[in-house]
Assembly symmetry: C2
Homo-oligomer: 219 residues x 2
DNA sequence: CTAATAGTGTCTCTGAGACACTATCTA
DNA sequence: TAGATAGTGTCTCAGAGACACTATTAG
């Protein structure tokens, strides 16, 4: 029998939209290596849990969260990715609506916070590579699935939906064309309610028809 | 420090086309569990190699191969996937042209052979799940990249190219529409040569313009 | 000249994108 | 009634798919 001295970990790329910007959760490292730098929340995989369970457990250590979407991204295995020893990390993407996530109190150890993707500092380990890959996957998936629902509140306005697309794809979209396209896909339906309380015309509230991830050619 | 007793392995889903059929390489297991059943070629990840290197090394243990395309598929981690102990397996997809792969002599131990995807027997472990996922990925990737080149000889006819699409997507395609579409993508070019030796009109030979994987909206 | 596959063009329909005005609410 | 955002329709162009015949070779 072979012996292996390899540690298996999970890294989470947790996306949400705050202030109309796509943001990712980072902790601040308080020990070497990469002390003081930002890093993705990570954790060891325990013997009695799957990778997905490990990712979910890790997620809950840093945040209070509900209605989260979790998807395996890729496994990273560069020999030197952690200078302390051989490590293989399975990265996960998490998508959450702003309303459904709460970052746990900044114990001095972790100090977790969301940072906009266009303002990322230099990151620890190979986390920049992971983040880049995660963004690419998210963009792609937005275009052929109903994944947008996981980053939105259950009930949302058409404008909010469009904003998800604009912020993730990082480009402005035409209001009329966007609505036409979404309408034809039948992935959302009106709730009959309206968003009140603003000093302008109230917007209709919508919800997604299918609460599971669905492949739909979109955009 | 945590101790982990988890073995990390790689499983290879090796695709090629033989007799106009999409086929995958399997070995026959000669020990329990799943003795006598078909399984994907697999191997342990060594401490001084990346996952991709492990997949490639394993590939070379079962076959002589050149010009192979290798891509990480997904990591499988069901607690009970191997009854002998905790195991996490990173699956890889390999694509090879029939001409570029040779299955090593059937030592009684392994007896490796290609089996058409529509005639798979019951497979060992969770390999059915892996295979299904691999086929799905391959189909999808065929539609938006130039990945077909890796399953074709360097020079090929338009008919052969169309056959790759038909066999992988498992549907007949219209000759004229297919040619029009491929033409417009500028991903292949005529070599000027023709395929001779047949008792009918000789077909022009083509080759791919870009030898690297390229994202191109296709079909 | 027969058998077998290579290779080509047109029409219709649908989806994508460009583009500007009216509707509805609060203060 | 001013300010602010919600919500809507038309035209043009490009790509997708349906469809049938001619071209070229070996024997």
């Amino acid at each position: 029998m072979i012996t292996q001295d390899i540690f298996v970990t999970v890294d989470n790329v947790i996306f949400t939209i705050i202030n109309d910007k796509l943001q990712i959760l980072f902790i601040k490292r308080w020990i070497e290596p990469y002390k003081e730098m930002r890093a993705l929340p990570w954790g060891f995989v325990l013997e009695e849990e799957t990778l997905e369970e490990a990712a979910y457990r890790e997620l809950e250590e840093e945040t209070s969260v509900k209605n989260v979407y979790l998807e395996q991204l890729y496994s990273f295995s560069d020999i030197k990715r952690d200078p302390r020893g051989r490590n293989i990390s399975v990265a996960y993407i998490a998508l959450v609506a702003r309303e459904h996530i709460f970052v746990k109190g900044g114990s001095d150890a972790s100090e977790a916070k969301f940072i906009p993707v266009d303002k990322l500092p230099k990151l620890a380990f190979d986390h920049r590579k992971i983040v880049d890959y995660a963004i690419k996957r998210l963009k792609r998936k937005l275009e052929y699935t109903n994944i947008a629902q996981y980053i939105l509140p259950t009930k949302f306005t058409f404008t909010q939906l469009q904003n998800v697309y604009e912020v993730v794809l990082n480009q402005k979209l035409d209001v009329r064309n966007f609505r036409k396209k979404i309408d034809k896909l039948w992935i959302i339906k009106a709730t009959g309610e309206k968003e009140m309380g603003n000093q302008y015309r109230p917007a209709k509230l919508f919800q997604f028809v299918n609460k599971d991830l669905e492949i739909v050619e979109i955009l």
